[in-house]
Subunit: 212 residues, 2 copies
Amino acid sequence: MQIAVLLYEGFTGLDVVGPYEILSRMPGAEVVFTAVQAGPVRTDMASLALTADRPLSEVTSPDMLVVPGGPGTEQVLADTAVLDWLRAADAGTTWTTSVCSGSLLLAAAGLLRGRRAASHWIALEHLPLFGAVPSTDRVVFDGKYATAAGVSAGIDLALHLAGRIAGDAVAEAIQLVVEYDPEPPYAVGSVAAAPPDLVASLRSTQLAVLPR
Amino acid sequence: MQIAVLLYEGFTGLDVVGPYEILSRMPGAEVVFTAVQAGPVRTDMASLALTADRPLSEVTSPDMLVVPGGPGTEQVLADTAVLDWLRAADAGTTWTTSVCSGSLLLAAAGLLRGRRAASHWIALEHLPLFGAVPSTDRVVFDGKYATAAGVSAGIDLALHLAGRIAGDAVAEAIQLVVEYDPEPPYAVGSVAAAPPDLVASLRSTQLAVLPR
């Protein structure tokens, strides 16, 4: 099973590495990091670069797509070469997935019309621009399309995918290997849980997470 | 505040990118990825490489150290150049931290003698070899040394560090930005929670997580 992870300048690192850490441990999984050009690709926070081992042109028929989000999404929304690649690759996938504002890219490629999708909470309102139905769930499955909420939600998404693809026993083993028994120090990790003034403050600045 | 993240062949990706995603968002934080030689460094699962922007020789006085674990730990335990660098860098840090079996490297450098430390659950038993006191807690603070349990625990560690360094309000904002409101699909993410036969099975194979 080939899993293609799309990289682009300004993606968010954890959007990619969370799912990678889970999915790469499935038996038979082959993960390939790919970008318009092969080579290092910088994340939104600039100090981290991940290597794209192959250009998009060499990754034509993955079994799974993983599309991260991040402030770089804004540029990619206008990049017809990447959107064309997403459409072409999606035609042959068993699973097409995204984390964070990555669902905007799937939607902009026309892949989520009429489908429910998750996204980063700040990006969620933009999904209807492309015909998708926003969901505040952390992980959303609609047919072969599986989308996650912001950044860290990619870990949960990937464990659900591992369960469906490799079975619960494998997914459970992976969860124990990565010791995923989270203990968040604060009870503010979602819009529903956070104080309204914190939500409003972040929504106005949008920090460095999302297309502006 | 300069945060130096050590990379070495065979580290575990999420050990690094979890904390990075949190710590890099603190005001004034400058993260530098460093390795014996600058350039791409492959993780344990081989398909992912992160770029070390500077060689260890150019990173001499970080304010914080972040040391990941992974199966590559085994080689680094015998690498006196890296252990010497850890000792020298630690002399000037405000915080010295590790994720997963990275605590074995801090311990092997002689930095955890008599101190409580966390580690990946499979690696925990090796800490006393270097005079450290193993703890099954997910995040352990002992003086300026802050250590996390396996892989995903680095996210929790980093949020605790952000709270201590930048204050609770900043840490809470970061937690909401990365939408860290985890919903693990299985209740098996720790040794305490997992079925004993799964723990025993992984302990015997040790998968690709830890020094053998």
